[in-house]
């Protein structure tokens, strides 16, 4: 069974190629069958492989061919399947399949139907390669591949230049991170002589002492790639704009799977971070700060998808926090639950958006509870999981585990714990603000379209997963510990239950505050908005803390300006100057060719005088 592993990325890759080349000639049914069906097959193969790996005890390796073979540089096209990559692969293929199924209906009217599925299938193939890669160069291939698909899908509706801008922003900002990551790869290969991840980790452990500057530099460079792809500070600015893409894309790429690639990379190279405590602390701090910064921004957005986008940034911040304190398995557990509930929230939001004639503004929604019951109940399920409704939803289990480990880990402490807790309050606040504004109160826009079976079925399945996946906690963590180091508790003074109770209380407080401000007494929020301090903060948060403003002035405009000023290449001006000088000299000398003997005689005489004069003087 395990030997079928290569088919998991190969099938979507093949269908992507077919759809890209011949999609225009295929019927919509055929496109849908190929587009979604291929992912279904991949998902089934992943599910068949899973028990084989569970029973085999050791990781499975599959080498397809040696990619490059130059002077000890021998990256292979090879896969490595252990608990971590299996979990990633399962979640990726399962969520992808559901979202593809949803898309067959959601994109039905779109003229780029086959193009959409070609890009989406290419994305799944790249993502699976990313998680299965046994060396960092192949991982980088998947990494750039998903970045490409993200670019293509954000700019899917290419006629609107704004979408193109958002797409290019996403690709370029993530590639800034990738540049750091590439340098990290060069460094790792130079120092350790291999790129194969398992051997690399062994070599790092053998050659580098804890806290070695090499390990710190390598870990920080890889972190650069991770913050780019996972939209963490300071490279988070691209993700909210990425919502320009079709909603299923936002659900799959910009929420459930691709943006967690950074989490996977750090967890995969955890040995490096253990060797470099400074870099690991940086991961924790990035996560803690990002989860708060993005939480505040989510609180002020008016576009339903941007709320969810900032929420994604914030939730990945939790995963980074977990990685930073060494709670590797908790990070991956939260990745899984987040994939389910965030995909669900986006897809349910897609139903709402489609029902309201592509309305994105939550202040023009409202009262949809009775009109769209499926969307409502599933959205509530997803929202509760996101905000962490205690003991019932998956988000509670995974997030509280992270917060608790942020306290108890040897690398954690009260400050990181407090940041996580503050995030709980924020999350509950913005989640229920969203739910109340969209589904309760008075109806503001008429429902013009009702979704069909495929879209509803998808969100119902995801809602079920968003609830029950929390109960898989202990077997899943045990399984993950076969691939990831576990963590011992270091800080006393609080028990997991106490931390959980605080989180539950904060959840309730956030829920109540949202109820008060956005449902019971909306005038309160109006009054707050009129307050000058809050008004300024609101604008600041709404614009994502002014990062775009800053980057535009510091990076984009100077670069564009430099390019524009030198458009005609000043070096060429030098060459042209020489040419002009030669021509000018030619004209000057040509002017002396008058044909008049008197001038020539005078010239000869003057020349003779000068010559003799010079000869005498010297």
């Amino acid at each position: 069974m395990l030997s079928l592993l290569w088919l998991v990325p190969a099938i979507p890759l093949a269908t992507a190629a077919i759809l890209a080349l011949f999609g225009a000639r295929l019927t919509r049914r055929a496109v849908a069958a190929m587009g979604a069906g291929s992912i279904g097959v991949s998902c089934v193969i992943s599910l068949l492989i899973a028990p084989a790996l569970l029973t085999s005890e050791t990781p499975y390796r599959q080498t397809l061919w040696t990619w490059i073979d130059v002077a000890q540089f021998q990256p292979r096209i090879g896969f490595y399947l252990d608990a971590m990559s299996l979990l990633m692969m399962l979640v990726v293929t399962l969520v992808s399949f559901l979202i593809h199924l949803y898309s067959t209906e959601f994109m039905e009217e779109d003229e780029g139907y086959s193009r959409f599925f070609a890009y989406m299938n290419l994305f799944v193939a790249s993502m699976v390669v990313l998680v299965l890669a046994d060396n960092l160069l192949l991982l980088y291939l998947g990494w750039e591949g998903v970045g490409l698909c993200s670019y293509l899908l954000i700019g899917f509706w290419y006629r609107d230049p704004a979408n193109g801008l958002a797409a290019r922003k996403a690709f370029i900002v993530t590639r800034v991170g990738d540049t750091a990551m590439a340098v990290g790869l060069f460094m790792l290969f130079h120092s350790l002589g291999t790129l194969e991840i398992q051997r690399l980790m062994e070599q790092a452990q053998a050659q580098w002492a804890g806290g070695s500057p090499y390990a710190t530099a390598a870990a920080l460079l890889l972190l650069g790639g991770a913050v780019g792809k996972s939209a963490q500070l300071p490279l988070q600015t691209w993700l909210p704009d990425a919502m320009a893409g079709p909603t299923p894309t936002s659900a799959l790429i910009h929420a459930a799977t691709m943006v967690t690639a950074g989490v996977y990379l750090i967890a995969r190279t955890n040995v490096l971070y253990t060797l470099a405590p400074d870099a690991q602390l940086a991961v924790a701090v990035v996560g803690a700060v990002t989860l708060l910064v993005a939480g505040f921004s989510a609180l002020t957005q008016s576009d339903i998808k941007r709320v969810l986008a900032y929420s994604t940034v914030s939730q990945i911040g939790y995963m980074f926090l977990a990685l930073g304190v060494g709670a590797w398995s908790a990070a991956l557990f939260h990745f899984m639950t987040h994939a389910f509930f965030k995909a669900l929230l986006f897809l349910a939001a897609g139903i709402v958006i489609e029902a309201l004639h592509h309305e994105h503004n939550i202040f023009r929604m409202g009262g949809l509870r009775r009109e769209l019951p499926v969307a409502f109940w599933t959205f509530v399920a997803g929202g509760c999981a996101l905000a962490g409704l205690p003991l019932i939803t998956s988000g509670y289990f995974s997030k509280d585990l992270i917060i608790w480990e942020a306290w108890s880990s040897p690398l954690g402490g009260p400050l990181l714990w407090a940041a996580g807790m503050a995030g709980v309050l924020l999350t509950a606040l913005y989640t229920f603000r969203l739910i109340f504004l969209v589904f309760s109160g008075a109806r503001k826009t008429e429902v013009s379209h009702r979704s069909g079976f495929r879209m509803k079925a998808t969100v119902i399945v995801l809602a079920a997963l968003a609830v029950v996946s929390g109960y898989w906690k202990s077997p899943l963590l045990d399984f993950l510990h076969t691939a990831l180091p576990s963590m011992e508790e270091a800080h006393a003074g609080m028990t997991e239950t106490m931390s959980g109770v605080v989180a539950a209380a904060l959840f309730a407080a956030g829920l109540f505050a949202a109820y008060l401000f956005f449902l019971a007494k909306p005038q309160y929020s109006g009054a707050a908005a009129r307050n000058p301090v809050f008004g300024t903060l609101h604008r600041y948060w709404f614009s994502g803390w002014g990062f775009d403003w800053l980057y535009n002035r510091v990076f984009v405009r100077p670069l564009l300006g430099a390019a524009r000023i030198n458009r005609n290449d000043f070096v060429d001006a030098i060459c042209a100057g020489i040419a002009r000088f030669t021509e000018g000299a030619n004209h000057l000398l040509a002017a002396t060719q008058t044909g008049r003997v008197r001038w020539y005689a005078a010239g000869i005489a003057a020349g003779a005088v000068i010559f003799v004069g010079v000869a005498i003087l010297l």
Binding site: W67, D69, E144, R159, R175, R564
Partner: protein, 494 residues
């Protein structure tokens, strides 16, 4: 003997095409195509044969001919081929075929003379890759120049005469420097050994005083640097590439630039290892400046072909960095970059030519939204733009990353700056895609999509890039013995 046939077929085919054009233009095209295809087939034969004979470890050349030409001066007609020359020669034939196909409908005037020039310039390029006698090499170097001048000046676009003269002056002046350097080397070799020879093998390891070695090296380097092109000697390139007809642009970008890289690799470093070592910091700095400078300039261009032309300045910077890093990884990367750049940039020129044929403009501001009307051409444009920005899985990535992996060993700072150059490639590649293919079709352009002939050209190039990107080993294995020999010639661990 087979090596002489390569040249003879091209030269003869050119004349035949020129004669046949009197009867019909189509005949000239077919003859040109057949001649290059015959060479390509011969080359394949040599390549597959080479794999069998390369078992003998000390045989440097896969094949050679060495006839005495002018014995009084020690001039030989010496052609030899190793893995490096072989692959560059294969690239020449491959791009030659595509160049003929790409100009099938573009060139309508003087069809015979056009194909004569095209085939002769290819013959010149191949001779440059094969010549192992410096006199013969210089001869071949000049042979490339004249037909190329005609290609630009006769079938080019608006400012073709300006561009052609600029190209000619740059190449000719730098070529003369090389001639002086060759003669200096020739006489100094005589002074130290008492033998007059232009033979590459014998000139290797000539003992030279350090200062002299440096100046002679510089004479060679400048000639090759103009061709490569190295900043700040690149300014002929945008004009020549932009004004040349499609076939001319393909040959310029895909092949003539490679002769510069080949020259540095074959002659500059092995003949003058000490001077080259001394020169390394300067060369690598120039390389990385070219990478960044070319990318920023490409980003600012309004003319599609000019944009692509400046990307060459950027990409070939990697070749320079790779060669002067002078370790196996970086060298293989440099050669790989040369091969892949020839294909990916050639393809962008094919598409630019196809667009110009349809829209009668190269201005990006007069394009936009083309995806709606010509999805195939636009998709191809996207594909090659991605190759250009170094997407893994396509050939350019392998080349550039091997250079970077190799260069990092000795020059980490240069490597980091060059990696930023890969980021900058994103800027211009995405801008190209956005301006030409995405956006609204505001100019209401409605043109024909790729016709089957163009489709074949584009597909061949795309498949080659995928092959080089995912399974480059046959290619790497072919030229790695040659690289080893160069390594030895220049003194291992230089």
């Amino acid at each position: 003997m087979i090596l002489v046939w390569f040249i003879a077929i091209l030269l003869g085919g050119g004349i035949l095409a020129a004669v046949a054009a009197r009867v019909s233009a189509a005949a000239a095209r077919w003859i040109a195509l057949a001649a290059i295809a015959a060479d390509f087939a011969l080359g394949l034969l040599l390549w597959t044969g080479a794999e069998r004979t390369s078992m003998a470890p000390d045989s440097r050349w896969i094949e050679q001919v060495n006839w005495t030409w002018i014995p009084q001066f020690g001039i030989h007609f010496h052609f030899a081929v190793d893995g490096l020359s072989l692959l560059l020669m294969m690239l020449t034939f491959f791009l030659g075929i595509l160049a003929v196909l790409a100009s099938w409908t573009e060139i309508t005037e003087n069809v015979g003379f056009f194909h004569l020039n095209l085939l002769w310039v290819l013959a010149g390029v191949v001779s440059v890759f094969l010549a192992m006698d410096l006199f013969l090499f210089y001869f071949a170097w000049e042979l490339m120049l004249v037909p190329m001048y005609f290609l630009i000046a006769m079938w080019g676009h608006e400012r073709r005469v300006y561009a052609a003269i600029k190209f000619f002056l740059f190449t000719q002046l730098s070529g003369l420097l090389m001639l002086v350097a060759i003669l200096a080397l020739y006489f100094l070799h005589y002074a130290s050994t008492g033998v007059y020879t232009f033979q590459y093998d014998q000139l290797l390891g000539t003992a030279l005083p350090p200062r002299t070695e440096f100046w002679i090296m510089l004479g060679f380097f400048i000639a090759f640097a103009v061709k490569l092109p190295v900043f700040p000697l690149h300014t002929w390139l945008p004009d020549a590439h932009t004004e040349a007809p499609t076939a001319g642009s393909i040959v310029l970008a895909g092949l003539l630039l490679k002769t510069g890289g080949y020259g540095i690799l074959r002659f500059v470093v092995p003949l003058f290892p000490n001077a080259a070592r001394e020169f390394t910091p300067i060369a690598m700095t120039l390389g990385v400046v070219g990478i960044l400078y070319g990318a920023i300039l490409a980003f600012a261009q309004a003319d599609l072909k000019r944009l692509v032309a400046y990307t060459s300045v950027s990409h070939l910077g990697f070749v320079l960095v790779g060669i002067f890093a002078w370790n196996e990884l970086a060298l293989q990367g440099a050669v790989m970059t040369m091969l892949c750049h020839g294909i990916s940039t050639g393809a962008l020129f094919v598409l630019a030519g196809a667009l110009q044929e349809r829209l009668h403009t190269r201005e990006l501001s007069r394009m936009g939204g083309l995806w709606t009307t010509i999805p195939r051409l636009s998709g191809a444009g996207l594909f090659f733009a991605l190759a250009s920005l170094g997407l893994p899985g396509l050939g350019d990535f392998v080349g550039e990353f091997l250079v970077l992996f190799g260069a990092f060993r000795s020059h980490p700072l240069i490597t980091i700056l060059a990696t930023i150059g890969v980021l900058f490639a994103t800027f211009y590649a995405l801008r190209l895609v956005q301006r030409a293919f995405h956006g609204e079709n505001v100019h209401r352009l409605s043109v024909r999509d790729l016709v089957p002939r163009e489709w074949v050209v584009v597909a061949l190039m795309a498949v080659s890039l995928l092959w080089l990107g995912l399974y480059p080993r046959p290619v790497l294995d072919t030229f790695s013995p040659a690289i080893d020999h160069l390594h030895v010639a220049a003194g291992v661990g230089r």
